[in-house]
Symmetry: C2
Subunit: 362 residues, 2 copies
């Protein structure tokens, strides 16, 4: 990535890295890459600003796509819709936005702020609100600081818009989710308006450039005939959990989410091992021979065994040869409040978080 | 009703009349009467202004309760919630409201503007947007003039608020209906903001005072041992359709509505006649021995055979002795656009509107 600019040349790397941090969810970054490409060609490159350089009085606006990843890949938003969400919230607040913020560094939403930044002529902050992807809008580090998601805006591609101002972030998720479903299961939202001082405290720094770096690492490892998966694990300080192939996928679209589980069987050194992935948009729990070996809030990523390309939960299918890796999340997610918000029990699994077994990485 | 004021002494008559114009729906006016009583006691009587005296540059705000009547009778809103909806829309528009407008003259929503007017210290216009009650928010005379429902606000009793700005009034209905369901199947809305010149053209004049007058007529007829039902029919220029008792009610709460049909059998002069009422919150179609004798957009009202009290679709039950009457709607509803918006076919009945058989009234 060039000094402080995101150009079209950076977008492929950014999309590859975003797919990895998407932990199987967050929507296909390819859609975001197409939109960002069009926006950058039309409006010039987007400026990117390190989080610690954002001034106290900045007016930062988070922007994201909300909905089911299975729908997003078919119902592509317009560039105008992205800016419309930001403008609707800015108008409601009577505030002129100074910076665009990334809601989740994983999936399509790592690219959406680039679209908004290019079109609105604003810098995007090199940070995000999760350090990964999560399926619900209250699942952000700012919630741990008591920062409210609302006022938030929502906009569809037809021209419908809404504003929600709710008593807590769970209500914001609920009302925005229903509107998203009405709007055709995908919509653009702008939320968590913060001043610069708050943003510096409550965001996860460096994650937009981390996406680009992961993409570059994968590309360079492939070009140099080195192992791209090992390179990713090394960069993230993570662990390899499993190598094998997909033998069954049970997936349903439910309440606007892609929910389900995948069964895999081991190959190579893992021959004879049975492995299960449980997901709601994102991979949530990894089970190896009946034992949970990793879970939210840590990252569980499924990568193509050869190319290191991330495989999203909606494209998992029989016969794929994969490697499953895990990586540590932002440490704030492991606080009691963090675990309550995004731990396994929130998603209906009756166990505490299982942190990644770093000794496996050796 | 005293000169230009709605006092607590007027509210019982207003509620009785509103139940009649509610055509079985619109929610139990008793809830509105309780709220309006509390508001008038706390803030003094509400001023009422004839429609033709509203100045061109007035800022009129319609306010109503949205939801399933079956829920509204159990989940009573707060007075504050009514004003909160108006204030949320006023803030969004950056406009200071000058008048409160009644959305529907029938049911709880004939009383809700009195609550808002008393609490906000604003006059209520003697008019409404339907001249009766209808179940969906785009079903108002202003829609026939191309006036948009949005920007509109929505507020629940917990403190959650929303604003919708949509491409047409059907989208406003759809998004607001979903939010209403999330909010517990009843919510307060403010919508169709209009200047005074537009309101004078697009509202139905005199309907708030008509409610009070119908209530007074029923009360006086009872006191004078005259027939209250005949007095109501006479005042509305309507027709009696049927006398009998309820023998079956099939009712379901579906998509936030109370839908169903009631079967009645004739008594007295109608002995041997079978009569059917089809409803969605409001009575939509009346069938006498297999022939449709009245339908939307005209008014179909079910009154207690003795007292003249209106019976709502959610309180219809086996054994009730009733008289069914019909009354003409605002003539604009019989335009092609009006029939498309609220005619029988919109509600799924495969026939044109049947206008009330005025010869039966003789």
């Amino acid at each position: 990535m060039a000094e402080r600019l995101i150009t079209e040349a950076d977008l492929d790397d950014l999309a590859v890295g975003a797919a990895i941090l998407g932990t199987g969810g967050g929507g296909d970054p390819h859609i975001g890459r197409l939109l960002a490409g069009a926006a950058v060609r039309a409006h010039g490159p987007a400026e990117i600003v390190p989080l610690d350089q954002v001034p106290d009085d900045a007016a930062t606006f988070m922007v994201a796509m909300m909905g089911a990843p299975t729908v997003m890949v078919e119902k592509v938003p317009s560039i105008e819709q992205v800016a419309a969400a930001v403008r609707a919230l800015a108008r409601y607040l009577g505030v002129e936005p100074t910076h665009v913020v990334c809601a989740e560094a994983g999936g399509v939403n790592a690219l959406v702020p680039v679209v908004a930044a290019a079109q609105l002529g604003l810098p995007v902050i090199d940070a995000d609100a999760m350090g990964r992807a999560f399926p619900e809008l209250q699942m952000v580090i700012p919630t741990l600081y008591g920062i409210t998601a609302t006022p938030m805006s929502i906009a569809d591609e037809k021209g419908n818009q809404g504003i929600f101002d709710t008593i807590d972030n769970h209500w914001a998720e609920r009302l925005a989710r229903s509107a998203t479903i009405d709007m055709g299961c995908s919509a653009m939202i702008s939320l968590y308006p913060m001043d610069g001082a708050t943003a510096r405290k409550a965001l996860v720094p460096g994650t937009v450039s981390l996406c680009a770096e992961l993409g570059r690492i994968v590309r360079e490892a492939r070009a140099g005939h080195r192992d791209p998966v090992a390179a990713v694990v090394d960069r993230l300080g993570g662990a390899e959990l499993f190598t094998g192939k997909v033998v069954d996928v049970a997936r349903r679209t439910e309440g606007g989410f892609a929910r389900g589980e995948a069964t895999l069987t081991g190959t190579g050194g893992d021959t004879g091992v049975e492995f299960t992935l449980r997901f709601q948009n994102e991979h949530l729990v990894a089970v190896r021979d009946g034992t949970v070996v990793a879970s939210v809030p840590d990252l569980i990523c499924v990568l193509d065994a050869e190319t290191g390309t991330a495989i999203t939960t909606e494209t998992l299918r029989y016969g794929q040869r994969v490697r499953v890796i895990a990586a540590p999340c932002d440490p704030r997610w492991h606080s009691p409040e963090g675990v309550e918000l995004v731990g396994p029990r929130y998603f209906g699994y009756d166990h505490d978080p299982v942190r990644i077994p770093t000794e496996v990485a050796a």
